[in-house]
């Protein structure tokens, strides 16, 4: 156990400080190159640097390479390759507007290294009832998992600090669950995601100095998905991600097709005179998590962010309860 503590500490420190120190110069470079977008939820004409995915992937790759130096696990290679591929896919989408098919298809391809490296166990573990062996079905699950987690995190990246703050809660929850299940190596391998998210949150929180962009959101989501697979905690990971899953579910069930947000004409929310957000009555607009939160009345961007974080903490508690239930058999 003691031999795991030193790599864990080194990788967590590296993950946090690489993002902490590379993000400010990245913001300067992006602003200088005019890679900025308007913050739609600010009264003034505020331009924010994008994409922040570059510092996020740097923090992940550096910390995971250090861990690979200690452990030489194929699981770590799977994280590095799939997450870097997801970053590249997101970066292409940040630079050039791609069709609705682009991200799901390419992210499915990005999941293939997990299979080729054999970094998975085809038993799917459920609380109370035990494991089920699904060798063929599990391959399909891997292919679907990365596009789902990637796009789920991307879909919740709608307000200042929400994607990174949500990721802090969900990823640390997943790490705690892996420790509860005594899967110590993968728990340590998962920790950098939480620390990278935490460091990025410092610059992403309201008022944002940088947006993660598709490259950042897909990097977060893809790494989360890979950890779920290599750690054998797919169900727990899905539970910790439930508020974001609800957002995607509400969106898809109201729109009834896979479509990019930018292609939707109806606006789910609008601004009041004092620039709070309120739900619209537009029947053509998609139902989203933010729209449901605003159904009770207008709120500030900060209040909505905290409402989402509270939901994430609630899901995190349910995920931890589920991890304890894994040890119980009916």
């Amino acid at each position: 156990m003691i031999e795991l503590i030193i790599p864990a500490i080194i990788s967590c420190i590296l993950a946090f400080f690489v993002v902490y120190f590379t993000t400010p110069p990245l913001i300067k470079i992006l602003v200088k190159k005019n890679y900025t977008v308007k913050d739609m939820n600010k009264k003034e004409n505020v331009m924010v640097a994008r994409p922040g995915g570059i510092s996020i992937i740097l923090g992940i790759v550096v910390s995971e390479l250090v861990l690979y130096g200690f452990f030489q696990l194929n699981e770590i290679l799977a994280i590095i390759i799939t997450t870097t591929a997801a970053f590249a896919i997101g970066y292409v989408d940040d630079r050039k507007v791609m069709g609705g098919w682009f991200k799901p298809v390419t992210l499915a391809i990005a999941a293939l290294p997990i299979i080729f490296l054999g970094a998975y166990d085809s038993d799917l573990a459920f609380p109370l009832f035990g494991d089920v062996q699904i060798p063929l079905l599990y391959l399909g699950l891997i292919i679907f998992m990365i596009p789902i987690t990637g796009n789920t995190i991307n879909s919740i990246d709608v307000l200042n600090g929400v994607a990174s703050g949500f990721m802090v809660i969900a990823s640390f929850t997943l790490s705690i669950c892996l420790f509860i299940l005594q899967n110590y190596e993968i728990a340590i391998v998962s920790l950098p995601l939480g620390f990278v998210s935490l460091a990025f949150y410092k610059y992403h929180k309201i008022p944002s100095k940088i947006f993660p962009g598709d490259s950042g959101a897909l990097t977060f989501g893809a790494m989360y998905g890979v950890i779920a697979i290599i750690g054998g905690v797919e169900i727990i990971a899905a539970i910790a991600l439930l508020p974001a899953v609800i957002n995607s579910f509400l969106f898809l069930s109201s729109v009834k097709r896979v479509v990019e947000h930018r292609q939707i004409k109806g606006k789910p929310v609008e601004h009041t005179d004092d620039f709070k957000l309120k739900a619209t009555n537009d029947k053509t607009a998609p139902v989203t998590l933010v729209r449901l939160i605003l159904a009770g009345g207008p709120l500030t961007e900060k209040q909505i962010g905290f409402a989402i974080f509270k939901l994430a903490i609630f899901s995190g508690v349910l995920a931890i309860i589920t991890a304890f239930m894994m040890g119980v058999s009916l």
């Binding site: 089920v132 062996q133 079905l137 539970i239 579910f249 509400l250 619209t280 159904a295 009770g296």
Partner: protein, 76 residues
């Protein structure tokens, strides 16, 4: 409103646990042996089909639940 969201989260969690139970109890022990070397492919194919049907049923239940919990809010 917010209590509705927490209720919906809790209901989704319950559905996941129950769905998992069905997967383990029904799909886990399911096996076909009389097709020689290909039995595992046929077994897996049937398991995939049942799992997909379960997913569709799960989404339908969730949709009904969403309409019930958010019936006031979904009058947008």
């Amino acid at each position: 409103m917010k209590s509705g969201l927490y209720g919906f989260l809790f209901a989704m969690w319950g559905l996941i646990i129950i769905g998992g139970g069905i997967m383990v109890v029904l799909l886990g022990p399911f096996s076909i042996q009389q097709y020689g070397d290909f039995h595992w492919i046929i077994t897996s194919g049937i398991k995939v089909t049942i799992a997909l049907i379960l997913v569709v049923i799960w989404i339908l239940i969730l949709s009904k639940l969403k309409n019930y919990i958010f019936k006031k809010e979904l009058k947008f």
